[in-house]
């Protein structure tokens, strides 16, 4: 964001702000790196979104209009990979980079140079993924889950995808270690763990999950790679392997991954709702415990993605009960948010709207998850459009809406400008409407028996698919409002006041707006309450 770029009056130490491209390539400042992450994630969100629109265009009506089946499969595969590893995860890492040091009173992230590396690994990985469309045989087409033995077929697009996953894995593990060490070691005096903002807690727990499971993903795709090229038989029954083992290892990563994309959203919403309700977060301690227990439970439920592989009834029942159990801490969170709004003095600026949209739609996604957790019903719905509807309620209305809430909420702090409230509200209502038009009918499609990942469908599915495609196009269009609002406000937005939100009382709001390039170069003395609420601050130097 070029507007804050004036290095003239900065001190001439080695960590000054270099100009031009060098500032970004050699970036070690957490704010610069956070900005890079956010723009990268946005670019990936647009790329993945274009793929989604290509998919919806093909599904607008029966018959093949635009793509052949193999390209269609490549689009669904890359849409998933790009959105999960390119958009959502980097966006949350970017926000953590930007806001964590400000929220806990740290001068920067713990490892500034490693931070530079973890970001700059992302663009080459993204490039590998995108280029794979143009290699012989095209991109990976086995679905984002890359199930063996299908993933052992296919051309070099699959190999490029595997390498890209390795790189993305290294990047996210380094980013996660940075977050953990920053949160554990760099908190300002007075900011105890049980005073930290929920966003810091969520980022910390998420980072632990990333460190624990991204290497497992790297391991299992490496096995696919050796099965493809080096004659191993991990997943080939003819050599004594087992295709189902792939699914077990993959989902051992995959289910915690779901929470890697959900927990930071919980954290964001737990900052936004108290601010606009002008009330402390209800049940702070129970929020922390609920987040931790969700993370722990997420390691014990992976096989609920595999109810149709033919596991014994006892295993089905175990994973069904364990999965249902997750509803309890998740429910606690929803109740806490509602209780925070209760008897508040609410205003509804854009961040609050997105946060409330999140609570509603995420809950619907959570409840369809409870229905899916029931193994007997899941047998009907597994791999149908019902599942597609379910996880888009969780990931679009969940992760994405929370990201919008966060960007609008912290926009003044990051840029020193105000975004256009009118455009923001338009963006929210537009997204809310068309999101539901896109994804709600998919529940019906799945119930009626439409499998996912098919390029063409039987005629009885026509109407809902058409509605869903229209919704998707409009939803996609609406994101241009967001882009326009951001760019225009960065350039010509009104100067933001020091405290743009009346109810905001965490540490990042106690420093100047926009945040100085070097904040908390000297740690402040804090007295903090629950959820990072600052009761008093002394010292703390910025320049």
């Amino acid at each position: 964001m070029a507007t804050v770029e004036d290095s003239a009056h900065l001190p001439h130490d080695a960590h000054g702000k270099p100009g031009g491209w060098a500032r970004w390539v050699y970036a070690t400042n957490h704010k610069d790196i956070g900005t890079l992450y956010l723009w990268f994630a946005f670019a990936m969100f647009i790329s993945g979104g274009v793929m989604a629109l290509a998919i919806r265009a093909e599904l607008f009506m029966p018959g093949l209009q635009f793509w052949q089946p193999e390209l269609f499969n490549q689009l669904t595969t890359l849409h998933g990979l790009v959105m999960v590893f390119g958009a959502i995860m980097p966006a949350f890492t970017g926000l953590a980079n930007w806001m964590l040091p400000l929220m806990i009173g740290a001068p920067d992230m713990a490892f500034a140079r490693m931070n530079n590396w973890s970001f700059w690994l992302l663009p080459p990985a993204a490039l590998l993924l995108m280029l794979s469309f143009w290699v012989p045989g095209g991109a990976a087409a086995a679905g984002w889950t890359l199930y063996a033995p299908l993933s052992t077929q296919g051309g070099m697009g699959m190999d490029l995808t595997i390498f890209a996953i390795h790189i993305l894995g290294v990047s996210s593990v380094m980013g996660a270690i940075n977050i953990v060490v920053t949160v554990l070691n760099l908190r300002a005096p007075g900011m105890g763990l049980m005073q930290m903002p929920m966003f810091a807690w969520a980022s910390l727990i998420t980072a632990y999950l990333i460190i624990a499971v991204m290497p497992v993903l790297a391991g299992v795709v490496t096995m696919v790679l050796t099965d493809r090229h080096f004659g191993t038989h991990f997943f080939n029954a003819a050599g004594g392997g087992d295709p189902v083992m792939y699914q077990h290892i993959f989902w051992f990563f995959g289910h915690p991954e779901v929470y890697i994309m959900a927990l930071p959203a919980f954290g964001i919403v737990s900052q936004v709702i108290p601010t606009f309700a002008r009330k402390p977060l209800f049940g702070y301690a129970s929020m922390v415990y609920a987040t931790a227990s969700i993370a722990i439970l997420s390691f014990m439920v992976w096989a609920h993605h595999m109810f149709t592989t033919g596991m014994p009834a006892t295993a089905q029942l175990f994973f069904m009960y364990a999965t249902m159990l997750i509803a309890v801490p998740t429910g606690v969170k929803v109740f806490n948010w509602v209780a925070t709004m209760w008897e508040g003095s609410m205003t509804f600026e854009t961040p609050m709207l997105f946060a409330i949209g999140f609570v509603m739609l995420f809950t619907i996604g959570g409840l369809s998850g409870v229905i899916l957790s029931v193994a007997a019903v899941d047998v009907q719905l597994q791999d149908s459009y019902y599942v597609v509807a379910h996880f888009h309620y969780v990931l679009v209305a969940g992760a994405l809406f929370s990201l919008f809430a966060a960007v609008y909420y912290w926009f003044p702090k990051m840029t020193g400008k105000m975004y256009s409230e009118g455009l923001g509200k338009l963006h929210f209502w537009w997204s809310l409407l068309w999101f539901n038009v896109t994804f709600f009918p998919m529940h019906f499609l799945g119930l009626a028996g439409m499998p996912r990942r098919i390029p063409d469908y039987a005629l009885q599915f026509t109407d809902f698919n058409a509605i869903s495609s229209v919704g998707a196009m409009m939803f996609g269009l609406g994101q241009l409002i967001f882009f326009y609002n951001m760019v225009r406000s960065i350039r010509h937005g009104k100067e933001a006041p020091q405290l743009p939100w009346e109810g905001a009382n965490t540490l990042e709001w106690k420093i100047p707006t926009p945040a100085p390039y070097h904040s908390f170069v000297e740690a402040p003395e804090l007295k903090a309450g629950d959820n990072g609420v600052i009761l008093s601050m002394q010292g703390g130097e910025h320049h």
Binding site: P243, A313, V328, S345
Partner: protein
């Protein structure tokens, strides 16, 4: 859940035919599917009640406890009693859900006491049905033409096959499922059956249809290019009709068995070969023999189809060493089928070989290969 919005939109945007759209699970015709249907209905009511209760409270707060309504914030932030209640009550609700769910899970797994067994094998991209008790076996392919129009072969678009699975009504059919190449999944919604078919392993499932009729489903596990084009059709017939079908099928299969010693003439070999091509090869190499550039090589004027016949026989029998997508057809097709399809490929789309590959050539090639 708020289906209000999309449903309103439906009414506005779509023609009246939309009312025929399925909003719920398909009408069940087995006891398991019925249990699943009822269980889903129960779960749906519970979740709707939860949504109404939770968001009722939330929207009440949004309307009444807003700053513009002059509401002052109360600064409470915990209440142990309430927190205990909203931990325990959901737990009780979940136990209430788990109880009936467990019963249905156990019923789904109860494969004993079957009246007949059919082995189902998934191939890229077709199903094979093998009646283990009667020695009847056949492949089931999509019969909708893939010509870009929405024309069908008489059944519903993309949900029709040339040879459906035929079973008697009211009898417990046990399925043994396996696959030949990648994982497939055999799904017939009206039966409440979805079971992955895993290469190199055997899984089981069962159903007992209560009502004669034709029931349709699709492969549910992404299995490559034509995953969307391997439907499942099950015809449930009354006992006597089933017995007649079985007798006729056995006779037909016996008649179809080709005499491997037969010497074929060019035109009849091309005709037979075209049938084989349409069933097995057309998905990748296309109707016009042009394939898909970069993935599936062209046969019209292709190096193999116009080159030495030995190499052509080898790649059809044993698959391609370079491109895993080209399967080894030696196991799936008979000598006659392979001979005629090769003859067809060498004499179609402008290829003018003029010679006939005979079944005995294939037999010899099966022996001579490395």
């Amino acid at each position: 859940m708020p289906p209000v919005l999309p449903v309103l939109l439906l009414a506005v945007l779509a023609p009246p035919a939309v009312l025929a759209n399925q909003l719920n699970l398909q009408t069940p015709v087995t006891s398991v599917a019925r249990d699943v249907y009822d269980l889903h209905t129960l779960l749906l009511y519970i979740t709707i009640a939860i949504v109404v209760a939770v968001f009722g409270v939330m929207f009440y707060a949004i309307v009444r406890h807003r700053k513009s309504a002059g509401h002052q914030a109360k600064q409470f932030h915990e209440n142990t009693t309430v927190e205990v209640i909203w931990t325990v009550v959901p737990l009780l609700i979940l136990v209430g859900m788990a109880w009936p769910a467990t019963r249905v899970v156990l019923a789904q797994k109860q494969t004993r006491g079957e009246d007949m067994t059919v082995k189902v094998t998934g191939y890229q991209w077709k199903w094979q049905y093998d009646y283990l008790d009667d020695g009847v076996a056949f492949m089931s392919h999509l019969s909708t033409p893939r010509d870009g129009t929405l024309k069908t072969a008489g059944g519903p678009y993309l949900l029709e096959v040339d040879e459906p699975l035929v079973v008697p009504v009211g009898q417990k059919v046990r399925l043994l499922l396996t696959a030949n190449d990648v994982i497939h999944s055999w799904w017939v919604p009206a039966f409440g059956v979805k079971q992955d078919a895993i290469p190199g392993f055997v899984r089981e499932a069962w159903f007992k249809a209560d009502k004669p009729g034709t029931y349709r489903g699709q492969c549910a596990e992404l299995c490559g290019k034509d995953h969307g084009y391997m439907p499942i059709v099950v015809e449930v017939k009354p006992e006597a009709e089933y017995a007649r079908w079985l007798t006729a099928k056995k006779a037909q299969l016996a008649a179809q068995a080709d005499d491997p010693a037969k010497v074929w003439k060019l035109d009849e070999a091309v005709r037979r070969g075209e049938e084989v091509y349409r069933k097995n090869c057309v998905a990748c190499h296309m109707e016009d023999g042009k394939g898909v550039p970069g993935t599936f090589p062209a046969l019209a004027g292709g190096a193999i189809t116009t080159g030495p016949v030995a190499a052509h026989i080898d790649i059809v029998l044993n698959g391609s060493r370079k491109n895993a997508a080209m399967a080894a057809w030696g196991k799936q097709l008979s000598d006659t089928e392979i001979a005629t399809v090769i003859t067809y490929e060498r004499n179609a789309w402008g290829n003018r070989d003029g010679k006939v590959v005979q079944p005995k050539d294939i037999k010899a090639a099966r022996g001579g290969q490395a």
